[in-house]
């Protein structure tokens, strides 16, 4: 499988090992978090072929040949993804544990709905934050949408 643009071959004794285990413990990418282990809280959200997936409930056998993107692959300090940039601008995190999952879910939403309404956010961003940073996240999601739309015309012009 391809993780954040890098090809990896992993051999697992148990083909039903959750993708989250492989990402964190085999590939040592600790940004994706374990929350509930029941696909309920969303802390483990990452992208599989561009779709948001709860990786604690995604058997590694299904990841074969797929493109996986984790929070580490979304952007970096020099070139943050609009969602990461917006999260910084709005100072969203409190404890921060669940935030990578929220950011991955938001990035997937913006790919599908470039300018989400509050209703779109309510329907699609259903992860759980025990610090209740929902209000700041909502602002950040709208900000990320604006940042992304500002960025895209530039990319189009340059291409």
């Amino acid at each position: 499988m391809n993780v954040n643009g890098v090809s990896h071959t992993v051999n697992m004794t148990d083909e039903n090992t959750p993708l989250l285990w492989v990402v964190r413990d085999v590939l040592d990418l600790k940004g994706t978090k374990f929350g509930c282990g029941k696909a309920a809280c969303g802390a483990c959200t990452l992208h599989v072929d561009g779709e948001a997936v709860r990786s604690c409930s995604y058997a590694i056998k299904f990841a074969e040949g797929k493109n996986i993107t984790t929070i580490e692959g979304l952007g970096n300090e020099e070139n943050p993804h609009p969602v990461q940039q917006a999260w910084i601008e709005e100072v969203v995190p409190q404890c921060g544990y669940c935030q990578p999952g929220f950011m991955m879910a938001t990035a997937a939403l913006l790919d599908m709905v470039p300018n989400p309404t509050d209703e779109d956010i309510d329907k699609n961003i259903i992860n759980v934050c025990r610090c209740a940073t929902y209000y700041r996240m909502r602002k950040a999601i709208h900000r990320a949408a604006a940042l992304k739309s500002e960025k895209q015309p530039t990319e189009t012009q340059s291409s």
Partner: protein
């Protein structure tokens, strides 16, 4: 000639009266006439078995009438306000497949099967009687245009339908309840009911 008729008519009248008084019909000897199409008792039994399955939570939880999938043996609304969405598979970015994969995940307790989704809104069954469910099932306007052969195929071969007998475990590791009729019996019942004309019993 006229005298003969005058004699015969009173005789016949009297004889008729005597016979009517002495030979009374016995109601206990009557046999009710039952109109049967095929083997109706067998078909009725097949209908009941089929409906025992269709009205079980394993089927009914994904045939809601309020666009909200249900979960568990108590059919509570799906957590986190997940709902039908535009194509029966959730919302734009958070879909059924965000959590539900092609097969059950026994580590997380998340159920899964190929093309995991809600039944179309037209096939909402919750709150309906067995008769009403059967009417929806047979109506091409509500069943996705399926004829009897296609319905039999859907009900006896579709992997998502048959998931009901392989529902895996819940989030606590407890096996989910199976429908009250075995998979083999259900398939036979479906085939038998359709073979007998898919008659919906009146009671």
């Amino acid at each position: 000639m006229k005298a003969k008729i005058t004699f015969i008519l009173p005789f016949l009248f009297t004889a008729g009266i005597i016979l009517a008084i002495n030979i009374k019909p016995n109601p206990g000897e009557y046999q009710p006439i039952i109109y049967e199409s095929g083997n109706s008792s067998e078909a009725k039994e097949a209908f009941d078995k089929m409906m025992d399955v269709l009205t079980h939570e394993r089927c009914m939880n994904c045939h809601p009438n309020d666009n909200v999938p249900k979960q568990g043996e108590d059919s509570h609304p799906h957590y986190f306000d997940m709902a039908r969405g535009e194509n029966n598979m959730g919302f734009q970015a958070t879909k059924c497949t965000t959590c539900h994969q092609k097969e059950n995940n026994n580590y997380s307790g998340v159920p899964g099967a190929p093309h995991w989704s809600l039944a179309p809104a037209a096939m909402g069954w919750q709150g309906l009687s067995r008769t009403e469910i059967a009417q929806k099932l047979l109506n091409k306007e509500t069943n996705g245009g399926k004829n009897h052969a296609e319905l039999i195929k859907h009900m006896t071969e579709d992997e998502l339908v048959l998931w009901a007998w392989e529902p895996g475990v819940d989030a606590n590791g407890t096996p989910r309840e199976l429908p009250p009729v075995s998979k083999a019996e259900f398939k036979t019942a479906v085939e038998l009911w359709f073979e007998n004309g898919a008659v919906i019993p009146s009671k």
